[in-house]
């Protein structure tokens, strides 16, 4: 028999487990247009809902007249706040401990706010009826500037909070103030800054932008009046959390609610929160007794569904003359819009922004974040990043550049001088985190070498000379970034959402013939979970990944989990998967020992089988073991082969990376060309290199868009100026840069397979790389800081202000 056993390498390869560049199993259906998204769901008798939205950023509603709309044939109902009030559903809780209007209650607070919900036989009639609802508004003064929000005479935005000096996160000092969040040691930091050799100070703005997933948000709510069950299909990044929240809000028992996330066309944080459309659809279905669908259009998505960023970050960083950083101080003015609807773990009103000491060993630091209300859409979600980690990475990577300028130092050298050293891990940061692992110097040296950093600097210097001599009008910028993320929320002891601990789960069933199904509490929105989680399991339990179905997104079948965002799926649910797999293996070991008639300890695991120690020709494959689990009575062992694991991670994971962007800038038109983009990621153990590469390409392309043009802009009246894809920049293949990817591997010491998560790293790391390249191009002319997005006219303005136009 032993001649017939294929060699280990062959058996390992056949599993397509960890490290295999296995093709994505999802793509067969996506590339053939056979995905099943919310808007593909069609149920008998289904009605459509559509919103009447506010044209004003701040106005009192004097009256709503829906009579003409109701008279339109095919219109079933028009809901307003008055209709929802008796059910106490005209307001809803937000994930951040605030409340938000479901439908405008007396006033509107941002352009595009939901005012009334029209329910009609089809979406065409609904759209016509929306036009017929007459709303009488009285315009109120508008606050769009977060720095003016707290002026003594600023208009009162949230009348519902009148007199409330205590918010969800402590005292409020003004009627438009939401919270102050402080971390670190203020006195010690200010003392260090006061006596430092060098202090660099700058305002760094990370502008408001939007995740803009290709599929907008939507749902189909179906109340079955016969069995009392409510089923909601929706674009939910956290289906179980939605179920629990829906139960708490509506009073419907949780076992009577079933939430299903079908295929999701991108989420990027946009689909974490609860939106008025969901509540209105559910109410409408309960009232009408038939299913109700609501799917927002692109403009609604951009105007009203959760935005991202909008952080004004004032920083001070101090150092010795020779470039050793001694302290970091930061104050953030966070523009949250009309309601605080950030999707952060409850105890973290500014997310994990206190990772803003970055990759550097900074002895002392202080951070304060002030959240304010303005007349803009609510949100503040983590757009392909862990909570506020992109803002933090951008802040520190800009401050490093600003400090390098103050010191007259090369910023690559400044970084290397201040990196947390490999021997310092686990590292306790001045702002309270315990970095699990890292090897920054190795990654950094590899990156600089890969791009021939010295050579690039020489070329840049030559170009500068040519520019000054009038031989060219193009400058070269070299953008450096070394980022450290904090992902995988998270330990239940400090991370929860509305009281739900942020563990995650996996349940595995091995079928008698040796294939398997695994169900998880997460939900893929393009990450390829069905591919990669099967690979984790394949390596753990020796069943080929191709024989493992991964299923997510149905709360009636999946174990409870907190969903997918913040790069938490691999760190948390991936760990649960490995742990559940180990439970399977432990039972399989007992079965194998029984079948081989030896003691449990006398068999050992060998890729896809258990073999008798010292007698490898005596073995039982997982396939044989699986069958045995179902077909014979084994003394002392229950039949079947199933396991479930709920994993509460002991710590976050800390992926990191070194990104370098080389950009050419035309100073006359403000146009740019990305000549080179090098991305080195260390995400610990690499599960599927092809998927990692794809994630890096996608995230870096989002980062490119954000840095170079993408924004949600308002005029002074609070009108959204960028509500269509004509003005909101989504790169096409034509604009998308070419990327060179690379890696180092520093496994997480506490994760069962050492994986750290990678989906968000490229968005976090690329934005500062692109932006630093723009800044670097102009460094020789005295630029220290200018704000994103670096679109043509803003780059042109920089060149203009620096006198480069003669």
């Amino acid at each position: 028999m032993n001649e017939m056993t294929p060699p280990k390498t062959e058996r390992t390869a056949a599993l397509k487990g960890l490290g295999s560049a296995r093709k994505r199993v999802e793509d067969a259906r996506f590339t053939q247009g056979k995905g099943n998204y919310v808007d593909d769901i069609k149920l008998p008798g289904m009605l459509f809902g559509d919103f009447v939205r506010s044209p004003y950023a701040h106005a009192r509603i004097k009256s709503i007249d829906a009579e003409k709309a109701k008279a339109l044939p095919g219109v079933i109902a028009v809901l307003t706040a008055a209709d929802l009030a008796p059910l106490k559903l005209h307001w809803m809780p937000t994930l951040a401990g605030d409340v938000q209007m479901v439908l405008a209650d007396g006033k509107v607070l941002f352009q595009g706010q939901e005012v009334a919900f029209v329910v009609a036989e089809n979406r065409y009639i609904a759209a016509d009826a929306v036009e017929l609802v007459e709303v009488d508004y009285e315009e109120l003064p508008v606050v769009v500037d977060p720095f003016k929000a707290e002026a003594p005479d600023a208009p009162v935005l949230r009348e519902d909070l009148a007199g409330k000096s205590e918010g969800a996160h402590g005292p409020r000092r003004h009627h438009n103030h939401i919270f102050t969040w402080e971390q670190g040691d203020r006195d010690a930091t200010e003392k260090v800054l006061a006596s430092a050799d060098v202090v660099a100070e700058e305002m760094v703005y990370y502008h408001r932008t939007h995740p803009c997933p290709l599929e907008t948000c939507g749902c189909v709510a179906s109340m079955d009046k016969v069995n009392g069950k409510l089923t909601v299909w929706g674009t939910f990044q956290a289906p179980h959390a939605v179920r629990t929240v829906a139960s708490l809000i509506s009073g419907i028992a949780e076992h009577n609610i079933r939430i299903i996330s079908p295929d999701i066309g991108g989420g990027f944080g946009n689909k974490v929160g609860v939106y008025p459309g969901y509540i209105c659809s559910i109410v409408a279905s309960i009232v009408t007794g038939v299913p109700v669908k609501w799917v927002e259009d692109r403009m609604e998505n951009l105007m009203a569904t959760a935005f991202a960023r909008d952080y004004w970050m004032k920083g001070k960083i101090s150092a010795t003359k020779d470039g050793r950083i001694t302290g970091l101080w930061c104050h953030v003015t966070a523009d949250h819009g009309a309601f605080d609807a950030c999707a952060d773990p409850t105890k973290f009103p500014a997310g994990f922004f206190n990772i803003c000491t970055g990759s550097y060993d900074i002895p002392v630091a202080y951070l304060a974040v002030d959240g304010v209300y303005t007349n803009k859409a609510p949100g503040g979600v983590a757009y392909r990043c862990s909570f506020r980690v992109t803002e933090a990475a951008y802040f520190i990577e800009r401050m490093i550049e600003v400090l390098a300028i103050r010191l007259g130092m090369d910023s690559a050298e400044l970084r290397a001088k201040n990196f947390i050293r490999k021997d310092q891990f686990p590292y306790h940061s001045a702002l309270g985190w315990e970095y699990d692992s890292g090897d920054y110097h190795t990654a950094w040296d590899k990156a600089l070498k890969a791009v021939d950093y010295e050579g690039l600097r020489r070329e840049q210097a030559q170009r500068l000379e040519d520019f000054k001599a009038g031989k060219t009008r193009k400058l070269i910028g070299i953008g450096l970034t070394h980022f450290t993320e904090i992902v995988g929320a998270g330990p239940v002891k400090n991370c929860d959402i509305l009281g739900l601990g942020m563990f995650d789960s996996c349940e595995i069933r091995i079928h008698p013939t040796g294939s398997a199904i695994a169900r998880l509490g997460t939900i893929s929105q393009g990450q390829g979970h069905a591919t990669t989680f099967a690979q984790i399991l394949a390596s753990e339990i020796g069943i080929p990944a191709d024989d493992i179905t991964v299923e997510e997104g149905d709360t009636d079948t999946a174990p409870y989990g907190l969903g997918t965002y913040g790069s938490r799926s691999t760190p948390v649910a991936g760990a649960a998967t490995a742990m559940a797999g180990r439970k399977i293996r432990a039972k399989a070991q007992m079965i194998a020992a029984y079948l081989l008639e030896v003691h449990d300890d006398d068999v050992e695991w060998d890729i896809d089988r258990f073999a008798v120690k010292g007698a490898p020709e005596r073995f039982k494959t997982m396939k044989e073991i699986a069958f045995a689990a179902y077909n014979q009575a084994i003394p002392g062992i229950e039949p079947g082969l199933e396991a479930v694991s709920y994993y509460d991670p002991p710590n976050m994971t800390y992926p990191f990376g070194a990104y370098i962007c080389v950009m050419e800038i035309d100073v006359d038109t403000g146009e740019h060309e990305i000549r080179q983009f090098y991305a080195l990621d260390d995400c610990g153990t690499r599960i599927n290199p092809m998927i990692i590469e794809g994630q890096v390409h996608g995230g870096a392309t989002e980062g490119y868009a954000i840095a170079m043009g993408q924004e949600i802009a308002y005029d002074e009246m609070g009108n959204v100026k960028t509500a269509t894809l004509m003005d909101f920049f989504l790169p096409t293949a034509w604009e998308t840069p070419h990327y060179t990817t690379d890696f180092t591997v520093t496994p997480s010491p506490h994760h069962p397979i050492g994986a750290k998560g990678v989906g968000e790293s490229p968005n976090v790391g690329s934005v500062p790389a692109f932006s630093n390249a723009v800044h670097d191009a102009f460094r020789a002319f005295g630029l220290t800081q200018t704000h994103m997005p670096h679109d043509h006219w803003r780059i042109w303005r920089t060149a203009h202000e620096l006198g480069l136009h003669g």
Partner: protein, 284 residues
């Protein structure tokens, strides 16, 4: 993004279309490729009760080159402009410009007639047609008439075409000399931040004639007669080019928008024009 209800008509001759337009009155609009009109309808920025679709009218399609006279049917798609070798020979600037319009998906459907009749200052073809001194052929209830592209545009979305007239074709003389269409845009599928159409004829090393038009820098395309005159008869030296640029700047009137403030646009208009002159001259 759902338009208000409308009726749809699909005539198969120009005469039938003209009659429909006359009969239906104000509330009717012709639709060609729909790639300017449908977005407006979906955003409910325009109220149209009747759409008269020109797709079925074969007589409106095609490119004919007769000696020096080029005639392009209104329903010729932008993709057909790009793919036509004879046209690329007679007036390569059309292909160069069409390739910078939108993206292939739009160009396979969008027509030259719709592009010039639309009246949106962002459209690329109107300025180009002014540069070429093209003639628009219109047909209305009272018969056919011709109008110069240079006389056609009155203000954004206002043109000399009467509501019940249909643009049937565009014609022009194949230009002598070098041509260039230079456009700055933020991304694929974007209208111009600034664009310039330039034709330069040379004899004995000097510029003998020049025509210059600018796009998206006013509420209409801007044919800059004086800018062309500044080049005509000159050796195209730096001072001559700057004279042309100054003449151009005197007649454009850009506005602040998401693409940038007017000051920036004036600056890029000058840069773009210099580049277009240089390129056209190098091809002359």
């Amino acid at each position: 993004m759902i338009p208000a209800p409308f009726d749809y008509h699909r005539p198969d001759t120009v005469e039938a279309a003209v009659k429909l337009m006359a009969d239906l009155g104000d509330s009717a609009r012709v639709i060609a490729g729909g790639h300017s009109l449908i977005p407006l309808m979906k955003m409910r920025m325009t109220d149209i009760a009747h759409l008269v679709d020109l797709q079925k009218i074969g007589a409106l399609k095609g490119i004919a080159i007769d000696g020096d006279t080029v005639t392009i049917g209104a329903m010729t798609t932008q993709q057909e402009l790009i793919g036509n070798a004879a046209l690329a020979g007679a007036a390569p600037i059309i292909r160069e410009a069409a390739l910078q319009i939108a993206d292939p998906q739009v160009r396979y459907v969008g027509t030259i007639g719709g592009n010039v009749a639309n009246g949106d200052p962002g459209n690329d073809m109107p300025g180009l047609m002014q540069c070429l001194d093209a003639t628009y052929h219109l047909q209305g209830p009272d018969g056919a008439r011709e109008i110069k592209a240079r006389d056609f545009y009155e203000a954004a979305y206002f043109t000399a075409r009467a509501d019940d007239e249909i643009l049937t074709a565009i014609s022009f003389q194949a230009p002598a000399g070098g041509q260039a269409y230079v456009k700055q845009k933020r991304k694929t599928g974007d209208y111009a931040t600034a664009a310039a159409s330039v034709i330069i004829a040379k004899s004995d090393g000097n510029c003998s004639a020049a025509s210059i038009a600018m796009t998206n820098l006013s509420d209409t395309p801007v044919w800059c007669e004086a800018a062309g005159q500044a080049l005509a008869g000159s050796p195209l030296g730096e001072a001559d080019v700057e004279n042309a640029v100054r003449a151009m700047l005197a007649v454009i009137n850009p506005q602040d928008d998401n693409k940038g403030p007017a000051e920036f646009k004036r600056h890029t208009a000058a840069v773009i024009l210099r580049r277009a002159i240089e390129r056209a001259a190098s091809r002359a």
